[in-house]
């Protein structure tokens, strides 16, 4: 256990080294946040005070800035490090180290995303809350539930990224499967517009998918949906995707051939 905690801390410190990346990431979040805020303000102007598919304009603005807070911890900048290490063969050394390779990587990435959550996610969210009427939780349990939901989203996103990374065991062009799946994830996950606006059946399908646990769940908790059912759904997906990605790793290792000495 202590080894995993050390990995979490190492990941946190490593990510802290990228100051320029942090600044440019924050600028990017600010820019897209402002553009999306303009969009939703203009849309709701035509219907003042009204809720559209359960979201009023405060909820929509919260969605905009929660997406900016989450984007960098879901599609992390180091997304290709794992498959690159598989392709180059460096991943073999991971298998010779003590402990569980999947858990070690999870611990390390939790440290890295933890640093992003502390610096990159909170700043745009708090900054926006100062100037815009966001619907963020105002009670301690509400805030804790939102943080817990964001952490679960981080673990789900690790598992989803891991599944895409596993493609490197089968093809050197491991980005191709991702490039064809990403548009669907982008749309159905709710990165571009809230899943709540989708027509009924599509919305139901999106909310039953693991993408919901990754993107919309923390947003729904933040705008005041009952937290326990959402958190339970996320926890279930953490377990399911964990088993699937670990199974995938076991399968990959069985067919892996190590060249050279």
């Amino acid at each position: 256990m202590r080894a995993y905690l050390a990995l979490v801390s190492a990941g946190f410190r490593r990510q802290a080294a990228y100051r320029l990346a942090l600044v440019s990431g924050l600028l990017t979040n600010l820019f897209f946040g402002v553009v999306r805020t303009s969009l939703f303000l203009a849309l709701y102007q035509a219907r003042p005070g009204a809720a559209v598919n359960g979201l009023d304009y405060q909820d929509a603005l919260t969605y905009v800035w929660m997406i900016q807070a989450l984007f960098g911890v879901i599609w992390v900048s180091w997304i290709w490090e794992f498959p690159e290490s598989v392709r180059s063969g460096d991943f073999v050394t991971e298998l010779t180290r003590p402990g569980d390779p999947w858990l070690r990587q999870l611990a390390y990435e939790l440290g890295r995303t933890g640093q992003l959550l502390v610096f990159r996610s909170t700043l745009p969210l708090l900054g926006a809350a100062l100037v815009l009427p966001l619907a963020l939780p105002t009670t301690v349990p509400g805030a804790l539930a939102t943080v817990a939901s964001m952490l679960l989203a981080v673990v789900v996103s690790f598992e989803v990224r891991y599944l895409f990374g596993l493609a490197a065991f089968w093809t050197a062009d491991f980005r191709a499967p991702f490039s064809i799946a990403f548009p669907l994830l982008w749309l159905v996950g709710g990165f571009t517009i809230p899943v709540d606006y989708f027509p009924g059946p599509v919305r139901a399908a999106a909310e039953a998918s693991p993408l919901s646990a990754m993107v919309m769940a923390p947003i729904h908790v933040a705008i005041g949906w009952p937290a326990w059912p959402v958190l339970a759904g996320q926890a279930a997906w953490v377990v399911v995707l964990g088993l699937v990605s670990r199974g995938g790793l076991a399968l990959a290792c069985r067919r892996m051939v190590v060249h050279g000495g």
Binding site: T28, A176, S179, W186
Partner: protein, 276 residues
């Protein structure tokens, strides 16, 4: 080797052969290239679909119907596809690799223009998918919003496509020029490449004065895409940005391209390499 040793006839033919060699070098798995080409188009279709859905749910966006807003998304997407086809590899994330490894030093000793060599050898064929998906979406949106395809309107659509692509390519060149100084890649350039195109996907009147000024008169995406769209849709445009400004679009685009060229020359003249 025999093919390389053949006299090339000089001029543009050299670049044509560099493009073909570069693309063939990347097509080592044609199936996967096809998959990535489709992927690069699908992402734009997903964006267009989402915009249509959300505008439809609310009725209008600043007085624009869903197909009219999709026309903006489609024109900028097609232009971005064309621009990134040529300029994607100049983005700081990739270009900093060439500078750090000293690969760029080798480019300098070749008997071609360094910038033209970089663009010609690194064409990203998969962005053809985005260009085609964008053009398809333009056709759909124009049909739904009642655009009449007269010869003049075709020219206006082509002007928007070329101006938007030129702006995207110019930003890529500026990003590369910046990388001469920073060496490490920075993502800030992406704000202008992807952000600029996202921003022109919606009617300009929804933005505050700062964003509007920035994207009309500094990085003139609004002149390149929004104003031509006004002409296609037969709209007069908001105060300060009338459809009559269509004549300024190519001029502003050329001006920005000139700035990018100056930036590149300045960067190149001060380039000292990173040592070995």
């Amino acid at each position: 080797m025999a093919e390389l040793a053949r006299p090339t006839g000089g001029g543009l033919a050299v670049y044509g052969r560099l493009v073909s060699a570069g693309v063939r070098g990347r097509v080592y798995r044609p199936g996967w290239l096809l998959v990535r080409t489709i992927g690069s188009g699908l992402i734009i279709l997903a964006d267009g679909f989402a915009v249509a859905l959300v505008v439809d749910r609310f009725g209008t966006l600043a007085g624009w119907s869903a197909p009219e807003v999709v026309l903006l998304v489609a024109l900028s997407a097609a232009g971005q596809g064309l621009g990134l086809l040529l300029g994607d590899r100049l983005e700081p994330t990739y270009f900093s690799e060439l500078v750090r490894r000293g690969t760029f030093d080798q480019v300098l000793v070749r008997p071609t223009s360094p910038l033209a060599w970089l663009i010609a050898t690194q064409v990203e064929a998969r962005y053809v998918g985005r260009l085609l998906a964008g053009v398809g979406m333009v056709a759909w949106a124009a049909d739904r919003s009642g655009v009449v395809w007269s010869g003049g309107h075709l020219l206006v659509a082509l002007l928007a496509l070329v101006c938007c692509a030129t702006l995207v390519l110019s930003i890529c060149v500026l990003g590369a020029a910046l990388t001469f100084a920073t060496v490490e890649g920075s993502e800030v350039v992406n704000i202008f490449i992807y952000g600029g195109v996202t921003l022109t996907g919606y009617p300009v009147q929804i933005y505050g004065s700062v964003l509007r000024f920035l994207f009309v008169w500094v990085v003139p995406f609004a002149l390149a895409v929004y104003v031509p769209a006004l002409v296609l849709l037969g709209r007069t445009g908001p105060p300060g940005l009338p459809a009559a400004l269509i004549w300024v679009s190519p001029v502003a685009t050329a001006g920005f391209t000139g700035l990018a060229a100056l930036g590149w020359r300045h960067g190149l003249r001060h380039y000292v390499g990173t040592g070995s």
